[in-house]
């Protein structure tokens, strides 16, 4: 029995992991691990000690138990599309879940699906389409990102304005806790009882455990959909239109804004959608619902946009046109990647009435620091995404960019906003947590984390600054039998290992 943690790359641990998942599913060479050093944000590079890729639920549990026995920290990772550095494993074990990609059960009658964490978001919607259903949370990376990753970040997307975020669409989750025990949170057979541990788990950024399967709620396809593109000669006019639409009582399915810099980036890329490149801002408005009322809603929204100063308002003529309009929005980040080698993006949410003021502040900050900022965001819920492309090889530019982003974040906090609406805190925004929460509040988050992971091995160093955690004494929370540091694999794990001739 060891009293100290094992090195992630120790031969003993690697051998044990290989016995569980197979030789080829454990990566140890730096050249193999290179691709896992970043997520969707190019600015961070953290190399894992090793990477392990289980292919089944049983293998996943066995891996987690092996890591628990060795007291080794680990970072769960889906598709690596995150925008907060949350899936970066700095010298620790990267636990890749992308091989768990089965849709386990579709239940159209109850509008539920049970999926493994590696199922790609868009694939789930494709699988449920024949039943007139879809999975509503639609982050821009949905063609690549996984349900497990969406759960970890409580992902949103344009359509969360009307349909809610991931948490509103998860009814149950089977979770492997960091010590290897397995628990089902939530309830697919009625109301949830007791504490909302499922609600605490969704959005916990991999710090509370690993989802083995997720039961999600599916949404009935609307009877009618209309997608409008309105263009404006000023950002202010577009913001006024947003306020007017919301104030009218109409709740669009999505209400997205892109400024001129973003529009030009998109139209110069392979994702060109036909946006007018001389528009100061464009609004992409999607309305959906019963067919009986859709035309009246379109007419109302069009009128409101024109009253606010829209130069033109077009309605998508067919599905292909609609898809093209959405492609421009959803691939906007990718379009910006053509322009500069490095990109930083923020994810603050501000009260909607403060949008015009904050957008003006962002423009002023950009001018002050001599940087170019592209704004693309979920205007309907005030979720901003100021993007700045720059050359990290230019230290002066890099410094100005980071100072500007800090100023933008503070401006958002100052108007009553928050630092992340959907990307998560990860490591990218952890430095802002103390600007948002008091010491007692941060400590409370630490204490909650201690309940799930008293050894702090699951995604360490993310979300809450470590120095914010008071030392916790006297927690009778959790004493797993496995905490006895027994290095002997459990019986079930020995079976898996035996099947590979490694027991």
């Amino acid at each position: 029995m060891t009293s100290t943690a094992v090195e992630p790359s120790s031969a003993v641990l690697v051998e044990r992991l290989r016995a569980i998942v197979g030789d080829q599913r454990v990566l140890v060479r730096p050249s193999e691990l290179q691709v896992y050093a970043s997520d969707g944000l190019p600015g961070y590079h953290k190399h894992p000690g090793i990477a392990v890729f289980p292919g089944t639920r049983e293998e996943t549990i066995a891996v987690i138990r092996a890591l628990a026995d060795a007291r080794v920290p680990f970072v769960p990772r889906g598709a690596g599309t995150g925008l907060s550095g949350g899936a970066l494993a700095d010298g620790v074990v990267l636990l890749g879940l992308n091989r768990l990609k089965r849709i386990l059960h579709l239940d159209p009658e109850n509008r539920l699906a049970v999926v493994e964490p590696g199922v790609v978001n868009a694939r789930l919607t494709k699988a449920t389409a024949p039943f007139g259903l879809h999975y509503a949370p639609d982050p821009s990376s949905q063609t690549v990102c996984t349900i497990g990753g969406n759960v970890a970040e409580n992902a949103g997307g344009p359509h969360c304005l009307k349909y809610g975020v991931t948490l509103n669409h998860v009814v149950a989750c089977t979770v492997a806790l960091p010590d290897g025990d397995v628990v089902t949170l939530g309830n697919a057979a009625g109301e949830q009882t007791g504490y909302d541990l499922l609600g605490a788990f969704v959005g916990s950024e991999g710090c509370f455990g690993v989802a083995l399967d997720v039961t999600v709620r599916l949404t009935r396809n609307p009877q009618a959909i209309r997608t409008l593109l309105a263009d404006f000669t000023s950002v202010d006019a577009a913001a006024r239109a947003v306020s007017a639409v919301i104030a009218s009582g109409i709740l669009p399915a999505a209400l997205e804004m892109m400024d001129n810099a973003t529009v030009r980036a998109v139209e110069a890329s392979i994702y060109a959608a036909g946006y007018p490149v001389d528009a100061a801002a464009v609004l992409l408005v999607e309305l959906d619902g019963p067919a009986a009322g859709i035309d009246a809603e379109v007419a109302t929204v069009e009128a409101l946009c024109r009253d606010a100063g829209a130069r033109g308002v077009e309605t998508a003529s067919d599905d292909a046109h609609r898809m093209r309009l959405w492609q421009g929005r959803k691939k906007a980040f990718g379009a910006m990647g053509r322009i500069s080698p490095q990109l930083v993006v923020q994810d603050a949410v501000v009260p909607r009435t403060r949008l015009p003021e904050v957008l003006a502040t962002i423009a002023e900050i950009g001018a002050r620091y001599g940087i170019s900022i592209c704004n693309v965001f979920h205007a309907g819920d005030g979720n901003l995404h100021p993007n700045v492309g720059y050359d990290a090889g230019n230290p002066d530019e890099a410094r100005r960019v980071h100072e500007a982003m800090s100023a933008i974040m503070q401006a958002c906090i100052d108007v009553g906003g928050t630092i992340s609406g959907e990307h998560g805190v990860g490591i990218d925004k952890i430095g802002y947590m103390e600007r948002l929460f008091s010491d007692e509040s941060l400590d409370a988050m630490c204490r909650l984390r201690d309940v799930f992971d008293p050894e702090h091995r699951a995604n360490p160093g993310k979300v809450v600054p470590v120095h914010s955690c008071r030392e916790w004494h006297g927690s009778a929370a959790w004493h797993s039998p496995r905490a006895e540091k027994d290095q002997t694999p459990r019986a079930a794990d020995r079976t898996i290992m035996a099947s590979r001739g490694k027991a």
Partner: protein
């Protein structure tokens, strides 16, 4: 409707970094610290409308939240509102309606109930199917933990993933993790039209009920509320010509859509207008001292839930209604005149034990006489691991069990 950005009534002074704490919140925190110092368990009290709910609470004192009242921030243009926890729902409804908006928290019970109690109990009313439960409506909150710490989580914007979700954890925790002292909630715009309808149905005709539920589920509309009432409930609501039960629906949208929704209801039977006060009446139907349980399951089991709810109601001379859109049935069992506590508890417990043996859905006790709680079936998802997590959470926030000790039983780490 007016939704212009008017001035807030004052800053939301919560325990955020660098901001001052509202005196009412500071006062509550002081009282909790005093209680902790003497290890004196306290019962959290808002307006006192929930004192008969939950499991028996062992306490030597009361933590009064009711005086912490008032809207601290309301910007109609943002469709968000922040208020101290002792603010009544009636006050919040009046303030939002004055701005052409609504707070879609409509728990069963009197509107004298407080915001804090509604969130602490996560009490969902008829509007929950359309607009979400209290856990979906709360955007942020401040609570005083059992350790006397003032903890804030979430915020006042409509989308927020900063930090671990203590809002979700505290909502529905029945005060066992912290006394909610302030909360931010999301609002909705008032619809142009708001009409209610009733369709007389035979609530005991299982086949007809199944067909009606299937038809309703396939409709492309979202009703603000949709409920199936047994005969006793329909009678209590004075619904004429609904001797065998009724389907009641609230359609709130543009005139065109409301008209279409009314037409769609026709598949269930003859549609008549219902008084808009119907929903207030439904929510305040339950008499003091009654027992209330909730039965729920997946929609495919809606008929089973309904049948069981009716059986229990009949067995206890009570009444039942089903939130069709959530597949949650509410069963109320009145206490007989001059019935002792012990006799009532024994009768309810016996009824539950007899009726629940084959039910594989979820049964939740909301109000039960002491002594009947053990008859509520344990959730299927119960496990030792879950129990240890629940105990751990409780220990993390209220290790000395100062707040509402016992109210959740084992689910709150109290047994």
């Amino acid at each position: 409707m007016s939704a212009t950005g008017s001035a807030a009534t004052g800053s939301a002074a919560t325990a955020r970094a660098g901001r001052t704490v509202h005196p009412a919140i500071a006062g509550i925190a002081d009282r909790v610290r005093e209680a902790r110092a003497t290890r004196a368990p306290h019962r959290i009290v808002g307006a006192g409308t929930w004192l008969d709910a939950g499991q028996p609470v062992a306490h030597t004192g009361r933590l009064e939240i009711g005086a912490a009242t008032g809207i601290t921030e309301y910007v109609p243009g943002d469709l968000t509102l922040t208020a101290l926890a002792g603010t009544t729902l009636a006050e919040l409804h009046a303030a939002t309606r004055a701005n052409g908006q609504r707070l879609t928290l409509d728990p069963y019970g009197t509107p004298r109930g407080t915001l804090g109690a509604t969130l602490a109990t996560a009490s969902a009313g008829p509007a929950a199917g359309a607009f979400g439960t209290p856990r979906d409506i709360a955007l942020g909150l401040t609570m005083v933990t059992g350790a006397g710490d003032i903890v804030s989580a979430g915020g006042r914007v409509v989308k927020n993933v900063a930090g671990f979700d203590l809002v979700r954890l505290a909502t529905g925790a029945w005060g066992t993790l912290g006394a909610i002292v302030e909360a931010s909630v999301r609002l909705r715009a008032l619809p142009p039209r708001d009409e209610s309808f009733v369709v007389a149905v035979d609530a005991d005709d299982t086949d007809a009920v199944a067909a009606t539920l299937a038809t309703l589920r396939a409709l492309p509309f979202t009703f603000d509320a949709l409920a199936l009432l047994d005969a006793a409930t329909a009678h209590a609501l004075d619904l004429a010509d609904a001797a065998h039960g009724a389907l009641v629906a609230r359609a709130a949208d543009t005139g065109v859509i409301v008209h279409a929704m009314r037409a769609a209801l026709g598949a269930a039977g003859q549609v008549r207008e219902a008084a808009p006060t119907l929903w207030d009446q439904l929510r305040t139907l339950e008499p003091a001292g009654c027992a209330t349980i909730r039965l729920s399951h997946a929609p495919s089991h809606a008929v089973d839930v309904w049948r069981l709810a009716c059986d229990v109601a009949r067995g206890g001379a009570g009444w039942a209604h089903l939130a069709v859109d959530r597949t949650v049935a509410r069963v109320t069992l009145p206490r007989r005149v001059d019935e002792s506590d012990a006799a009532f508890a024994a009768r309810v417990a016996n009824l539950l034990r007899i009726t629940m043996t084959d039910f594989d859905g979820t049964c939740i006790g909301e109000r039960l006489p002491p002594g009947a709680w053990d008859a509520v079936p344990r959730p299927r998802s119960d496990s030792d691991v879950l129990a240890r997590l629940a105990t751990g959470v409780r220990n993390a926030f209220d290790p000395a069990r100062i707040l509402n000790r016992g109210i959740l039983g084992a689910a709150g780490g109290d047994r």
